[in-house]
């Protein structure tokens, strides 16, 4: 039992490190922070990765993947986060891409995969609906046959970056009868199609990244349906386990923990600094211990995957712990900021003007982070899954 890296892996790690130092991720992060430059920053960064051949390493090589081992993917992810380099947007590369190359036909692969890799096509996800949150299968957006097309009607919600998107992949109901899961199909829809309107949802952290997408008799060629009609649920579900493991965001939390340690070593309390406050430090190590465990929980899952075992319900466990840890980090950070944790910066009152350089970010992270225990299947749902599928209750 060991976690040693082979000589090749070490070599690979050095290559990755070198790449990220050259890629100057700071600049990318700056562009991403600002809503007005967000899209450009995303595309620039993706371009760099694409040219390096690392934009979708986990894809099969014949479609442009890098053919990395599980360990290599793990190393890459660690180095990326350590370098504070942005992740790619998941919707094209991690969500619809794999669905297309796994379940799509030749023509669909030819048509859509290249644009996903280059970033030329910006994708968003149309799964959730107001009425169906945890109960996704109850979705109502309908697609009724009309000649060679479908007519799509309904409203999708929580659609991230829909305002930038060229295409949306949707779960729609093509059959009202029978078990809800069985009547669902997987459609690719051009956002420029008449009848689509996007309306923003403003989050409590003051940021606009979520949207509602309304479909009013939107005409979609049946050729844009992935696989069989009524099988959409199966296609979408096959990705969820991977998604949950990713949602744990272990490496990201490790970086945040270190950042928090630095901030607390600087934030004064009378003559001393907060990191020397025994109660604060106890709360800090509570998180650290949990994270040390989660780090190895992830390694165990990866090792299982490497041995071609399915992560399965363990991924639910990682999602629960990972999101809990993210939130306790946000909480401790905002509390470290004290009343400054409530401040909102503006052009006329920047962090520098106000004299506090992490309060505003801590507030945004805390608020946005509340979603971690909700999306990707709420933690309550994950517990139900574990109870049923692991504990047999």
């Amino acid at each position: 039992m060991d976690t040693h890296l082979s000589a090749d892996d070490l070599k690979f790690r050095d290559d990755v490190r070198l790449f990220f130092t050259k890629a100057s991720p700071e600049r990318a992060q700056q562009l991403l922070k600002n809503p007005s430059t967000f899209k450009q920053g995303t595309l620039d960064w993706q371009k760099q990765l694409y040219e390096q051949g690392w934009v979708a390493p986990f894809w099969p090589t014949q479609y442009g993947g890098a053919g990395w081992s599980v360990t290599q993917s793990y190393i890459y992810e660690r180095e990326r986060v350590a370098a504070n380099a942005p992740d790619v947007l998941p919707f094209g590369l991690k969500m619809v891409g794999p669905v297309i190359y796994t379940y799509g036909n030749e023509e669909q692969k030819q048509r859509f995969l290249p644009g996903i890799l280059t970033g030329e096509t910006w994708w968003c996800q149309g799964y959730s609906e107001a009425g169906s949150g945890s109960d996704l299968a109850s979705l109502k957006t309908s697609a009724s046959k009309d000649g060679d097309d479908y007519l799509v009607n309904g409203t999708k919600i929580w659609t991230t970056h829909a305002q930038h998107a060229d295409w949306i992949f949707c779960l729609v109901r093509t059959d009202q009868s029978g078990k809800p899961q069985n009547g669902i199909s997987f459609l690719l829809i051009d956002m420029k199609t008449p009848g689509i309107t996007v309306s923003p949802i403003h989050s409590i952290n003051g940021v606009h990244s979520l949207n509602e997408v309304h479909f009013d008799n939107v005409r979609v060629p049946q050729a844009n349906r992935i696989g069989e009609e009524g099988k959409g649920w199966t296609y979408a579900k096959s990705l969820l386990a991977h998604e949950r493991t990713a949602i744990a965001r272990v490496a990201d939390s490790m970086r945040r923990l270190e950042k928090l340690r630095q901030l607390a070593s600087r934030e004064t309390q009378g003559r001393s600094v907060m990191i020397d406050d025994p109660v604060f430090h106890a709360r800090f190590t509570n998180i650290e211990v949990e994270l040390m465990a989660l780090e190895y929980m992830e390694l165990r899952v990866l090792a299982a995957v490497a041995n071609n075992q399915n992560p399965g319900a363990e991924s639910s466990l990682m999602k629960i712990k990972g999101s809990e840890i993210q939130q306790s980090l946000h909480e401790l950070t905002i509390e470290l900021a004290g009343v400054y944790g409530a401040m909102e910066t503006t052009e006329s009152a920047t962090a520098a003007d106000i004299g506090h350089d992490f309060g505003n970010q801590a507030r945004q992270d805390f608020m946005y982070g509340r979603a971690a225990t909700i999306y990707g299947g709420s933690n309550e749902i994950q517990k139900n899954i574990i109870a049923k599928h692991i504990l047999g209750l």
């Binding site: 949150g133 929580w158 989050s203 003559r271 509390e335 004290g338 409530a342 401040m343 225990t373």
Partner: protein, 380 residues
Amino acid sequence: MNFSLTEEQQMLQDSAARFIGQNYSFERRQKDTSLAQGFDPELWRQIAELGWLSVPFSQQNGGFDGDATDLMVLMEQFGKGLVALPYLPTILLFGRLLDLAGINTSYSKLLGQVIEGNIQGSLAFMERQARYQLSDVKTEAVRSEQSFVITGEKALVLNGPNCDKLIVSARTSGGQYDEEGISLFLVDANASGLSRTDYRLMDGQTVANFYFDQVKVPTEQLIGQEGKGLMLLKRVIDQALLGTCAEALGLMHRLTDTTIEYSKVRKQFGVTIGSFQALQHRMVDMFTACEQTRSLLFRAVCSAASMETNEHQKNLHALKVLTGRNGKAVGNEAIQLHGGMGLTDELDVGHGVKRLMVINSLFGDADFHQQKMVIRSLEA
């Protein structure tokens, strides 16, 4: 032993509940907080007419002479109504400090205008490096002839952008951390040498950092004894702390009730989510958190008559600890049980949570007061 309200208190509660219920919907809050001041001055005039601005002030200053119970009753309704008004900065901090500063005709005149709702005030007691320590003051006031000259920066001044006058804590002697040597001054918002940066807190209220560059203040605007300001400051903040905890309790109740109601209508898997036992038990925990906080609030109110006693001080610390912890728990659960909707700006839940978080950070958070409590009990 008696926990029921007097007739007068009952009337105050009812009229507050009625007025807020009729005039202050969540949409109203959204509208008001979008205004430059972060609240509606018209509403301020209305509650002045209702006499609410006079509640905590002594009779000699034209006040209603309300006690801790009166304050609790009113503040809890502000919380339940998610009301955005500068009652804390202008009345409980600025006004009460003048009220407690002793008989002084000019203060009385000023307080008269405060009670009529014609003046907005602030108390500038926080500094960047001080975290929650009131005695950590770097801002200096140097005596020169018939005035003091103030230099330094005060941060996070509640209602700062709106205030006509502010009271500032500055050091007239001693070192940065000394409890002695802190003095309080009444300053005009437009005094020369005084500038500020305006911004908002997440609950929509406006705040400012004030920069004092050689601001001249006549000696008669020194409040209380020179160098003895901390004690007065502490007394005012102790009372404000009690009031804001009552507001926090109102917010916790609102969030709990909203969540329970939502769980009765929100359907998933063909049934209301309120029918899931795991969620039921968690809503019971929310309810318990409210009741527990109320009990400690009553405790602090009952000991408030003897403010300086060790017992009351301990009760206040305990109250802030529990309000902070329970407030966090209730807020987080309210969002979680509302799911994605709880994270949208259009629902009141997130706004209640943000106001609750601001209150819990003001005057020291749970951990801070727990340690004060520890120190106190070790000294005892």
